[in-house]
């Protein structure tokens, strides 16, 4: 499922993740919740793909499935690492900072102690921690510093791909900026590829070369950053962007709020998942699942899963 192409750091094809539920449906099959449904993406080396979506849209599940699937292959494991959301629960409270950074190297079979220490020293400097902080325990650090340790840990096996699972959403805004800048500079320094999960469109716009919008386990829209933020095509993407509070938006008449029920993913889906909340929904949207296809008239790479692609596309440009 997860593999590596010649110029891609990660290529994921037709990834689905289902959680088993209690009970059985009418046909007698076990009920399950389809958290990620047939998602495919590829990330070019040295670039960042951002996956945005609401809580529960399956974005973290998709990323973790890709990561742990790759980790199951021993050789790939060292090359894929994760930066976690919560800097308070992602560091083992019983280990000193240096040992936390050392752990992935031990599991990767890099047992040369002197070499490990050299890597640790180098990474502490790279993430902006002082050498004397190596012997401290996690609770002696602030949230931002803890996230730096988490970043150093992710870098210790010299990965080519790092999955950033909302790496700044648990931090306050000033620290967020520091960490995001750090991630960007490390990307240049170590030639990293990021899969960046976030619900914050501002962060995604700052960080990512490409954006994928996920809703209820499916990609709704996938496009290059500039193309996406200049003209989001999918009704859901627009709703997301409209929901971002800005000073101009406060002065504007309020856009129609997205309401309506979210679909029950334990039931098989017959149509577009967003149909129940979409302001433009038509009968076809209820009965036919829209496929991700190239959007017409877009400048660069821009894909869309919407039956109304053409109408909305022209409406957006008009």
């Amino acid at each position: 499922m997860a593999g590596q192409g010649p110029d891609h750091a990660l290529a994921v094809e037709n990834l689905s993740v289902a959680y088993p539920l209690k009970g059985r449906d009418k046909s007698g099959a076990r009920r399950r919740l389809l958290a990620v449904d047939d998602v495919s993406f590829a990330i070019r080396r040295g670039t960042t793909l951002g996956i945005v979506g609401e809580s529960g849209s399956g974005k973290t599940t998709a990323a973790m499935a890709a990561a742990l699937d790759a980790a199951a292959l021993r050789r790939a494991r060292q090359r894929v690492q994760i930066i976690f959301q919560d800097p308070y629960s992602s560091l083992n409270p019983r280990l000193r900072a240096a040992e936390i950074v050392r752990e992935p190297m031990l599991h990767a079979g890099r047992t040369n102690r002197a070499e490990q220490d050299r890597v640790i020293d180098e990474l502490f400097e790279a993430v902006g921690l002082r050498p004397e902080q190596k012997s401290l325990f996690p609770h002696q650090f602030s949230g931002g510093q803890r996230q730096r340790i988490g970043i150093a840990r992710a870098l210790s096996t010299r990965p080519s791909l790092i999955i950033c699972d909302e790496p700044v959403s648990a931090l306050d805004v000033a620290v967020q900026a520091q960490i995001l800048n750090l991630l960007k500079s490390l990307q240049r320094q170590f030639d990293l590829t990021y899969l960046f999960i976030s619900h914050d469109l501002g962060v995604v716009q700052h960080m990512c070369d490409e954006v994928a919008v996920m809703y209820m386990g499916k990609f709704m829209e996938q496009a290059e950053r500039d193309s996406f933020f200049a003209a989001p095509r999918h009704p859901y993407s627009r709703a997301l962007l409209d929901a971002v509070p800005t000073i101009e938006a406060a002065a504007r008449p309020r856009p129609p709020l997205v309401d309506g029920a979210i679909p029950d993913l334990s039931e098989p889906q017959t149509g577009c998942r967003f149909a129940s909340r979409c302001p433009h929904a038509m009968p076809r949207c209820e009965n036919e699942v829209p496929l991700l296809a190239d959007a017409t008239g877009a400048a660069g790479h821009h894909r869309l899963a919407c039956h109304l692609a053409d109408e909305i596309g022209s409406a957006a440009s008009g």
């Binding site: 980790a71 994760i82 919560d86 409270p93 599991h107 401290l136 002696q140 602030s142 520091q178």
Partner: protein, 296 residues
């Protein structure tokens, strides 16, 4: 590094590296009752270890007239109904009681951690089976069950210790399982898993050390309850008749409780003070290991 970035943040002077263990120790030392209890328990342990060497009277030998009150004729704690030296009985009995308490507690901690860790880590069928077994042991009347074991396999010290261990591990299993269920969901466990740690490493090196504090507290309290348990069995005459223990002294002298109450009171006090000390230490450990009470 690139020039547009400023990644150094103004920070206060870093605190000195302090091992969590030191922090716990500081917290424990601040608890006066626990410190006093530790000193008392230390004295009791020293008396049990070195007492029989420094005071080599055989606890089973009839050395003087029965029911000699404490302090007369050179017998500091008097003699029992057969004229045996109470002090010698107390010192030798302490060895047995403390050893049984410690070994039985270690045994139940070992069984409990094994069950709880496997159940909490693997979930699913493993958890169902292990927790049903735990519940089976939990609903058995403990004293009755251990009496059956002793009656079946004979009243030797080993059997008594095993009997106590077998009936008292369930609490540890439940605590361990609860901690594992909580900790396995934390991101640092996922981080270790993603780094390639095996299940065994995750259980023993990552989760268990973080699950230990409540288990340590429970283990301390269990030493006390195991001593009480042994005393109960010995009182009923179900302990090894060839070794003295505090419970056994009480049990054998119980008919004379009105004529020579000191023969029952003295070992009873020994049990009381020991178990109370252990409980206070357990309480102190509980406070010291509880991060919510710790000042950061």
């Amino acid at each position: 590094m690139a020039g547009d970035l400023k990644i150094s943040e103004p920070e206060p002077q870093a605190p000195r590296a302090q091992h969590p263990f030191r922090e716990v120790l500081q917290m424990f030392v601040g608890n006066r009752a626990a410190v006093v209890a530790s000193v008392i328990l230390m004295l009791i342990v020293l008396a049990a270890v070195f007492g029989p060497i420094l005071y080599p009277t055989d606890p089973f030998e009839m050395v003087w007239a029965p029911f000699t009150p404490p302090g007369t004729d050179g017998f500091i704690l008097g003699t029992d109904y057969l004229g045996r030296d109470m002090l010698s009985g107390l010192l030798n009995g302490g060895r047995v009681s403390l050893t049984i308490g410690l070994v039985a507690a270690l045994m139940s901690v070992f069984i409990g951690i094994s069950f709880g860790a496997l159940a909490g880590f693997y979930r699913g069928v493993v958890e169902e089976v292990l927790m049903r077994i735990t519940e089976f042991f939990q609903v058995l009347p403990t004293l009755l069950f251990s009496m059956v074991i002793v009656a079946l396999f004979g009243a030797s010290l080993t059997v008594v210790t095993i009997a106590i261990g077998i009936v008292s591990w369930t609490a540890v299993a439940r605590i361990t399982r609860a901690e594992f269920l909580r900790i396995r969901e934390l991101e640092y466990v996922t981080a270790s898993r993603a780094a390639g740690a095996s299940n065994m490493v995750l259980m023993t090196r990552v989760i268990l050390p973080n699950a230990l504090p409540p288990i340590i507290v429970q283990a301390a309290l269990m030493v006390g309850s195991a001593i009480l348990f042994e005393a109960g069995l010995a009182f009923l005459g179900l302990s090894d008749p060839n070794v003295v223990s505090w419970g056994q002294i009480i049990g054998s002298n119980r008919t004379y409780i009105l004529d020579a109450s000191f023969t029952v009171t003295i070992p009873g006090l020994a049990i009381f003070v020991t178990v109370l000390s252990i409980s206070l230490i357990g309480d102190g450990l509980n406070d010291a290991l509880n991060p919510k009470l710790r000042r950061r």
